[in-house]
């Protein structure tokens, strides 16, 4: 058989709680990330991603408790990102029960940190999360630039060149988020995903813009991603993870349907 495409639900977590509201039915505590994780686990999620968006330094430790409680109940691979800046941050997340960590801003401000982290914990454990926007004008050759601070701050760094540099430094996987598509429900930026996926040797996760199940199919079939990440379509109950995986399988993508 063959390696299957992965569907990865992502939860934004702030101060230890799920943000964006929840429409899961029958949850004891809909704001508890662990309860959501259990639902995704039961629905056959191939991996789970937590993005910690806690702003206050005082509450930074809340994510470790969330990760530990999730690892106690769910036996699926877990990636945790948001505010990962030091080797000590990574070690704490891994000890709490994370399998992979994603590095975002720190990879932009200090690319050597990615190399240091990959040397210490192995490339397979280091995901570099790249937020970019399309900056080329109509009719020009496609060009994407890295943006930080939730998409507000341009950096002048070319996203494709940056992706290649991160793989050289030891990133074991790339999480590509299109900041102009994120939240728009119009689908992934397929050109961005495909350009980078075809250029690098490591797996690429498509992210940003999913509104329909066809978008997930496109991410793999047209974007050449090996995994697709989505937040709101699952979170608001538009589709279940199981529905998404069956739909992708029906459209010719090899999926795990155990």
């Amino acid at each position: 058989m063959t390696l299957k495409a992965r569907v990865i639900p992502c939860l934004d977590v702030k101060d230890g709680r799920v943000v964006k509201g929840v429409s899961f039915l029958n949850l004891v505590d809909a704001g508890d990330p662990v309860e959501s994780a259990k639902v995704y686990d039961a629905a056959g999620a191939d991996e789970l991603c937590f993005l910690d968006i806690t702003a206050s330094a005082d509450n930074r430790d809340t994510i470790f408790d969330v990760v530990a409680r999730t690892a106690d109940h769910c036996f699926m691979p877990l990636t945790v990102g948001g505010g990962v800046r030091t080797v000590a941050d990574i070690r704490k997340l891994l000890l709490a029960g994370a399998d992979k960590v994603s590095i975002n801003s720190a990879a932009v401000s200090n690319p050597d940190f990615v190399a240091e982290a990959a040397d210490k914990f192995g490339n397979q454990c280091i995901v570099v999360s790249i937020d970019s926007k399309k900056v080329s004008a109509e009719g020009e050759e496609d060009r994407w630039e890295i943006f930080t601070h939730g998409g507000r701050k341009p950096t002048g760094i070319d996203a494709v060149a940056f992706a290649e540099r991160m793989v050289e430094r030891g990133a074991g996987e790339l999480l590509l988020t299109s900041m102009d598509r994120d939240g728009q429900k119009g689908g992934y930026d397929i050109a961005l995903t495909r350009t980078i996926a075809d250029r690098v040797s490591v797996p690429v996760i498509a992210s940003g813009g999913v509104g329909t199940l066809d978008h997930l199919v496109e991410g793999v079939r047209d974007g050449h991603a090996t995994a697709v990440l989505a937040a709101s379509i699952f979170h608001f109950g538009t589709y279940t993870v199981g529905e998404a995986k069956r739909y992708m399988a029906e459209h010719g993508i090899a999926m795990r349907l155990d």
């Binding site: 390696l3 036996f75 699926m76 000890l95 192995g122 397979q124 454990c125 797996p203």
Partner: protein, 213 residues
């Protein structure tokens, strides 16, 4: 029964501990799961699990850095012949040598080197990350009752190129057959992560807890 999971500073040990606890509980097996960095606890354990993530050389160094641990492993696995399960790099360490970054000597329980995977299909990414099915090469007690259709979770760039085909219980197709599970006597090893492999993983862990090699 006491199952020692060896803690030598490598990776996510919480998941492994929890998965073994759950498998024992659900199967009604009285097992104490003992996550330990003490050589004497390993030497006297009834079953031994060696996890491991990261680079081969780093894991070997980590294992060597725990006073008496390698000697304890040799004693309990070789002399006492207690059931042993290596996981991911813990499985790779059962080999003769690891060729990742530098050449590192292994525990020499499964003859062969751990080498970079070179899939025939150039489009396949390294590392292999995700779910794949296993191709069984021979029957083994740890796979009793486990359907061949179930998936296992892999995260790896290297695999154990075993010299003796009998040592290979299962392979995984990743642009060619890559070693997924090895066994020799009381020693077994999974390249995939049973503790993350849900149905297949829990069944395999349960079989390990009952295994009488």
């Amino acid at each position: 029964m006491r199952v020692a999971i060896i803690d030598y500073g490598s990776g996510n040990l919480r998941s492994a501990t929890k998965a073994f606890e759950r498998a024992a509980r659900e199967a009604g097996i009285a097992a104490e799961i003992d996550l330990t960095d003490k050589a004497e606890r390993v030497a006297t354990a009834d079953r031994i699990v060696l996890p491991g993530v990261g680079a081969y050389a780093d894991c070997r160094r980590g294992l060597d850095a725990v006073p008496g641990m390698v000697e304890a492993l040799r004693d309990v696995v070789e002399a006492k012949a207690r059931p042993f399960l290596g996981v991911c790099v813990g499985m790779q360490l059962m080999s003769s040598r690891g060729l990742e970054k530098t050449t590192t000597e292994g525990l020499c329980w499964i003859k062969g080197d751990v080498v970079l995977m070179t899939p025939a299909d150039q489009g396949l990414k390294i590392p292999q990350i995700g779910w794949n099915t296993l191709d069984r090469r021979r029957a083994h007690a740890l796979f009793d009752g486990i359907p061949e259709t179930l998936h296992a979770y892999f995260v790896h760039s290297y695999h154990l190129a075993a010299e003796n085909p009998d040592d290979v219980v299962a392979t995984v197709d990743y642009g060619g057959p890559m070693t997924a599970f090895v066994a020799n006597g009381n020693k077994a090893g999974a390249q995939f992560h049973p503790e993350k492999s849900q149905t297949l993983g829990l069944a395999l862990i349960t079989n390990f807890l009952r295994w009488k090699p």
